[in-house]
């Protein structure tokens, strides 16, 4: 049970406080309700590039990192398709430094041309390092474009192509900031050795004067139900054939989310999972194999991906997966197999909640989903999933017409 206090400033900024006197540290976490899905299709990668620019100086403070480091603190940030999250940790005595820094960059950035020029390059190097200069690096670029026809999940957070990042202009930066980085679109979480009264005072003092901004009302095209299987073959100079297949599943708040999560766990969560045992160990068709889903806010994807043992035909490998998927649709899971994945979930939640940093980001995430109290009821929801739910969900998800298949093959010769 994670305790918290919640209040909202007059300018619409939602504030959550999680007190933990056992630590000498404090975490300040600010989540902005904007991610890659909110980008223009011709200007992708922008939310993430913007995250870099948030460290390029704000209106009154030329450098974000330096004063924080001087206060004994450290920070980082990440962008997903759904959201952008900034967090810093510092000795609790010095927490006001974090309020000063974070509120100034919410008030306004400096919009430095130089910072933009440098960070465009840095992000292009990041793009190359993670997606271009690695074997199979473009797998998810291809798969997203195959699986999504209209929803903006069809591009990766890093962007569709280098040129989108290279062409970002300072006017785009300004417009993006004043549209999305306003108190009304942000959630502030403070966790650690702090008192709610003090945080209230500090929040009023530093964030209170920032203009509210306009609530960003998201109106994204939702992906229609897929009624025909899509398949793609790609050849590249990689050493091994790879198989990747995805199926559409429900949104994060869909009541079936928990059962879908457990389906992925039963199939591919660990060395005793069905796919690993059957296809890697017994049939020796794959040298690695994984089943996971994205947990995305809008309707997401459940994926199975693996690399084939050399000499195995990809159609044989795919057929063997289909057989396993038939089983989970036709035979109810045993009591003990279901209990296993629930126990694993209980354990994952307990380990996740160990650090104040991860408690803070979880609180922000659930608040963004619409109800922070969800954080404390997750385990109960997993506990109520029945073997019938697993059967029903598997049938619903693993329709062939709901699938997207990519054969990523090693180029011959």
């Amino acid at each position: 049970m994670i305790e918290y206090n919640r209040f909202i400033l007059d300018n619409g900024l939602t504030v959550l406080v999680h007190e933990d006197a056992a630590t000498p540290m404090a975490v300040v976490n600010i989540l902005y309700d904007v991610g890659a899905r909110d980008e223009h299709p011709e200007k992708t990668g922008f939310a993430h590039l913007f995250e870099h620019l948030m460290f390029g100086g704000s209106i009154h403070i030329p450098d974000y990192d330096e004063p924080l480091q001087r206060a004994g603190g450290d920070n980082n940030a990440y962008t997903t398709n759904d959201l952008t999250n900034y967090y810093c940790q510092l000795p609790a005595q010095n927490i006001e430094t974090a309020f000063w820094l974070e509120s100034d960059r919410m008030l306004s950035l400096a919009f430095s041309e130089k910072s933009l020029a440098v960070q465009r390059k840095v992000v292009c190097e990041e793009f190359k390092e993670h997606y271009l200069n690695k074997p199979y690096g473009d797998t998810w670029k291809i798969m997203r474009e195959l699986a999504y026809t209209i929803h903006p999940y069809r591009w990766m957070t890093i962007g569709k192509e280098l040129s989108h990042v290279e062409n970002a202009a300072i006017d785009d930066v300004k417009a993006f900031f004043f549209k999305h980085y306003r108190p009304i679109n942000a959630i502030l979480v403070v966790a650690g050795n702090v008192k709610t009264e003090d945080i209230k005072r500090l929040a009023e003092k530093w964030f209170g004067p920032i203009p509210m901004g306009e609530k960003y009302l998201r109106c994204l095209p939702q992906e229609p139900v897929q009624n025909e299987a899509r398949r793609l073959v790609k050849e590249a100079s990689v050493p091994l054939d790879a198989f990747i297949k995805t199926w559409h599943m429900g949104a994060r708040l869909d009541k079936n989310y928990y059962a879908a999560d457990l389906v992925a766990e039963i199939l591919g969560g660990g060395a005793s999972s069905r796919l690993y045992q059957s296809l890697v160990k017994e049939q020796k068709l794959f040298s690695s194999l994984d089943c996971h889903h994205f947990g995305s806010t809008d309707a997401g994807l459940l994926a199975i991906e693996g690399k084939l043992v050399k000499g195995v035909l990809i159609d044989d490998a795919e057929n063997a997966i289909t057989v396993e998927l038939q089983k989970i649709q036709e035979e109810a899971v045993t009591v003990s197999e279901l209990q296993k994945v629930k126990n694993k979930t209980e354990s994952i939640i307990a380990f996740e909640d160990m650090s104040i940093m991860s408690r803070a980001s979880s609180l922000a995430m659930y608040e963004l989903l619409g109800d922070v109290s969800l954080m404390n009821t997750e385990l109960e929801k997993y506990q109520t999933v029945s073997s019938q739910d697993i059967l029903r969900l598997s049938k619903e998800i693993f329709r062939e017409s709901n699938s997207n298949t990519l054969h990523y093959l090693a180029k011959k010769g």
Partner: protein
């Protein structure tokens, strides 16, 4: 009116009195030492068995790592599947890792399940059988994984730079080939297992919400095993550093980035310069605000990240600079690294920068003292390196007090460009 140009008053982290929480120590009946850190709020537990079974002791490449990996792949009573299924049923994670001197088994679990899990760990340590079929799968899959990794410039660069510093016949410098996997056989693994696990030398570390009877449970499961009796062979390796200092390799003609590694030998934690070097290294390339990062990423945009660090070795170590930079700016990146070295040799670090780094480092240490797993990791590091808590307090003093002149002398000693190996892999 709020003045946003002025920073709020801060307490300098260097004024903090850092205190390292003591860890409890006891021995099992067969003298296995146990270090325990009972702390934290979640009902979670970490137990780590550290065996002196790293690749230091192997006579054939990959025997130590494979023995360690295959501890979960079958005992006289259980198949690999049954072992995995058992731990996963209780939501537990049993991992194993092979290092140079040591090889570990690590259990993460909810405290309430510990009694169901310890006996299986005993079974693994006493009666693993390394089935032929499991070994064949392992070899095949590892060879395939290696083939994919060999396409990556950073993977190649990491292997080669170690070879240049230590020599290929030193445990710190050697790496794996397909042939090494082909040469592995079950008998080698069984012999290694028997000598270095079943009858080997072990230290146990526990942390988290430690159940009251854990000592009793550990003693029951591990206190009567035939461990700690043997003296391990005293093996010494000679360093055979490469003569040639500069290397350029093209692994992928179409590569868009180059992996850059620069390195020089550096002594281990017992050397009087070691702790001071950590401070100097932070200024140089040890954190986001370092000179390398500020210049080469934040000023020039040549890379997504550049870091310098001292390798985490128990024996002699090395100081490394590591980055992946655009192919066209690779040479420029290297010359900027040398330029930053020269500046540290020629000019004392000004007090403002130095105090920032001191505060940042003390703040980080404070953060690392938070939570049972982080605390036991620190104690483990001290124990394995034959250090004690005085090392902690002296390192804090070094961060707080080492002056700019002393750091400049240190830079002259260790940041001389002529001493560095230099490698680029495209």
């Amino acid at each position: 009116m709020l003045n946003r140009k002025v920073s709020p008053t801060i307490t300098d982290a260097v004024s903090f009195n850092l205190h390292l929480r003591q860890c409890e120590q006891y021995n099992l009946d067969n003298t296995i030492p146990v270090y325990s850190m009972n702390a934290g709020t979640q009902d979670v537990l970490l137990i780590e068995w550290v065996f002196e079974a790293g690749n230091w002791f192997e006579q054939k490449n990959m025997v130590a790592a494979t023995t360690n990996f295959m501890l979960k792949n079958g005992t006289t009573h259980k198949t690999a599947f049954q072992i995995n299924d058992h731990f996963e049923f209780y939501g537990a994670y049993l991992n194993r890792t092979c290092y140079n001197e040591t090889a570990t088994i690590t259990l993460h679990c909810l405290s309430k399940h510990i009694a169901e899990l310890l006996p299986i760990v005993t079974e693994i340590i006493t009666s693993s059988i390394f089935p032929e079929e499991e070994l064949a799968i392992y070899k095949q899959n590892q060879k395939q994984r290696l083939e994919v990794n060999l396409k990556k410039c950073d993977f190649i660069a990491n292997r080669l730079i170690d070879e240049y510093i230590y020599g290929f016949h030193h445990p710190y410098g050697k790496y794996t080939s397909t042939l090494d996997y082909d040469n592995l056989n079950r008998e080698d693994l069984q012999a290694y297992f028997h000598k270095f696990y079943t009858e080997g030398r072990c230290t146990i570390f526990t942390a988290g919400k430690v159940p009251l009877d854990l000592a009793t449970q550990l003693n029951k499961s591990f206190g009567t095993l035939p461990l700690q009796q043997r003296t391990l062979p005293n093996i010494q390796y000679n360093h055979q550093p490469a003569e040639q200092k500069k290397y350029q390799l093209i692994n992928d003609a179409d590569g868009v980035q180059s992996a850059i590694r620069m390195a020089r030998p550096f002594p281990n934690r017992h050397h009087p310069d070691y702790q001071k070097m950590q401070l100097l290294n932070n200024v140089f390339g040890g954190f986001f605000g370092s000179r390398l990062m500020s210049n080469i990423r934040e000023e020039k945009g040549y890379t997504y990240g550049i870091h310098s660090y001292i390798q985490n070795h128990i024996g002699n170590s090395a100081l490394l600079i590591s980055t992946e930079a655009g192919r066209d700016v690779c040479e420029a990146t290297i010359s900027e690294v040398y330029k930053e070295m020269r500046i540290l040799c020629e000019e004392p670090i000004d007090e403002e920068e130095l105090s920032l780094v001191r505060n940042y480092m003390i703040g980080s240490v404070l953060g690392e003292l938070d939570g049972p797993f982080q605390l036991i990791a620190r104690w483990k590091n001290y124990m394995l390196n034959k250090l004690d808590k005085n090392y902690f307090y002296s390192s804090v003093e070094v961060i707080k007090k080492t002056g700019a002149e002393e750091l400049q002398e240190l830079a002259k000693k260790y940041l001389n460009p002529d001493d560095f190996y230099e490698l680029t892999v495209i």
